[in-house]
Subunit: 381 residues, 2 copies
């Protein structure tokens, strides 16, 4: 087994024990409240991590692109929710997954698209499957979806429920505005809104005689904080597998829960300007600046030592160029402590964005590289 | 040949005629001033585009990672400048390229590293090559390099020049602070500083009896604006092949020069909040916010129609989630004009960052897809 210090830089590291811990905690929470964990794999995009999340009794997952759906389908997953609203140009690609035996649940939130999906599915004579479809509910005004009390809800539900080649499955929502919170109380309130809005939509559908089995909610912050999952059937957190500085800033994890880091080498010193340069720049870290709006701004990432321990809370990557990370040092002794060629680990602002630059995770445990796991990237079929 | 409208979304488009034009203009400028165009391929990362930049008489290129060097080496390029300061952990990987017949020019700017490189290269008995090495000069206080008048310059030059297994080639600089300019005059002044600083360093070395053949400068803005290349031997612009909104904001290209765009589908309407949602989000566009500090802030990109024409200068991707681009519309008629399933093209803030999310360029000409070109990404050997 290789040592971390023998990896090339930049490399993307995952602390296996932290990953296991984060997954175990979320699984335990789902079990405690009797909801299915349909983890969002847009963060990890990895079959190995999917395997840790799923077991023989439950293999439902969530994805953000059709490429992810195809990747996980090739890995044996058959119950996949594509949690980005479907548009007509993607109907055929969805149908190709069904033709391979994959139940790709899709979401709609627009009457025109719902009608297009119904018309298109009705025109397919040879199908021996039904497209599984949910309605996306907007519970926080954050992004897409129809309001729980929308006048479109029942006509949309009826349209989908009565279509021959469609199976209407229920409702789903994502409370993305939890990312704007500055307190756990704020997240808690949004978690309540998320649940209540989605449950209200389900009630309205059922009262109108429309079967609505699935009530699917979730974002990592609301799922960590909420203690009320009444009438919810499944939850869809994603970034919790790794966590990141942004989630730490929200207060839903500790620094020690962050499982993802970028291994980087010191490539330059500039004592005149008080800068240390790293070989992890804008591509290796991403240009996500999520923590800029939080109480503590970590720039482009928090610099840790090779063991993953924080050196100084203020030692951050304050600027990036494509292949340069720039660290300001207030303390000249850091030039001695981190000579050119020495290694650091950088905790990312946003794990989903940072991981997307890499083909592989280097899985590490107690300073050793115990495995290399691949991930999917991009959008190609 | 496929039509653009048949591509999946998001896809990365390159307008072939614009690419040809941008390259022809820069080549003509290099020819006019008698300097070699050693284009920086960190932007394009494509053998097909390298072929447009190089010809039989000149195949020198610049890269930002050793992976790029290996990719272009595999494609037949032998004269490659790795323009990020070398650190000792990468010596062996550099030597592996030399063993394959590749002259990978490396840069150093630190006496300790220079001595390490000399010691390490001296210890190699079996080499039948010399590591080609330049000193990086800091001409604008922007990032890495030693000052033109640094007391380290001559000892470093002497050390490298006298080492048996090293060939000292000269000096190079990159005037990255041209990216902070708000006027062409500012860029012009920096271009002068860039040239003068690098030339001064070369003079000092030569006066000390150290051969200094190469005087290498360059950033796209300074190379576009400068009219003085006296004593410069080569220039290294990169993003000029595609340009982007940031370069447009600097004033060094027109909107019609921007060759790169992201094809994206409308996936949602929210008439209550006045938003149109696209399937190009933070991954497809990158989270680069370079234009935020410029006179016109284009958010995460400028929305154009399928033909690539600007719809309204204010129609921008104002926010992104991982797979959602969010466009605010002030004019309700845009919901009719861009129904769900319709296509737009988004001009990127920063071509280098946006392109890095894609495996392929879809090469387009007059609305047709004429080719697909691959690119390299990541850092793996």
């Amino acid at each position: 087994m290789a040592l971390i210090e023998n990896l090339p830089t930049p490399s993307l590291l995952v602390e296996h024990e932290r990953l296991q811990h984060n997954i175990a905690v979320m699984k335990a929470k789902a079990n405690r409240f009797g909801v299915s964990l349909r983890a969002h794999l847009k963060t990890a995009k990895s079959l190995d991590i999917a395997a840790m999340l799923c077991d023989s009794s439950h293999s439902g997952i969530t994805v953000s692109t059709l490429q992810e759906a195809e990747y996980f389908a090739a890995g044996g997953y058959k119950d996949i929710l594509y949690a980005v609203c479907l548009e007509p140009r993607k109907f055929e690609r969805v149908a190709r997954l069904y033709a391979r035996g994959i139940s790709l649940k899709v979401i709609v939130n627009d009457m025109v698209v719902a009608q297009q999906l119904v018309d298109w599915s009705n025109a397919q004579q040879a199908w021996d499957f039904q497209i599984q479809c949910l309605i996306e509910i907007d519970t926080d005004g954050h992004r897409t979806g129809i309001a729980p009390d929308s006048e479109d809800l029942l006509p949309m539900g009826q349209l989908l429920d009565s279509a021959q080649n469609i199976e209407f499955c229920g409702v789903m929502t994502h409370c993305g505005s939890s990312y704007n919170c500055h307190s756990l109380d704020c997240i808690k309130n949004l978690a309540d809104l998320e649940r209540e809005g989605c449950v209200l939509a389900a009630h309205r559908l059922r009262e109108a005689g429309i079967k609505c089995d699935t009530v699917s909610v979730g974002s990592t912050p609301t799922m960590v904080v909420s203690e009320n999952f009444e009438e919810v059937t499944e939850i869809r957190p994603g970034v919790f597998v790794f966590y990141d500085l942004f989630q730490y800033g929200l207060g839903v994890c500790s620094l020690n829960d962050i499982a993802l880091s970028v291994l980087s080498a010191v490539i330059g010193h500039n004592r005149r300007t008080g800068k240390i340069f790293l070989d992890a720049g804008g591509l290796a870290l991403s240009k996500d600046r999520g923590t800029a709006g939080q109480n503590v701004d970590y720039g482009y990432g928090l610099v840790c030592n090779l063991q993953g321990q924080v050196i100084q809370e203020s030692l951050i990557v304050e600027d990036v160029n494509q292949e340069h990370g720039i660290v300001s040092v207030s303390d000249d002794s850091l030039f001695e402590r981190f000579p050119i060629g020495s290694l650091v680990r950088i905790l990312p602002n946003h794990a989903c964005m940072t991981a997307a630059a890499y083909e592989y995770y280097e899985i590490v445990k107690q300073g050793k590289v115990i495995d290399r796991w691949s991930r999917c990237n991009g959008w190609n079929e």
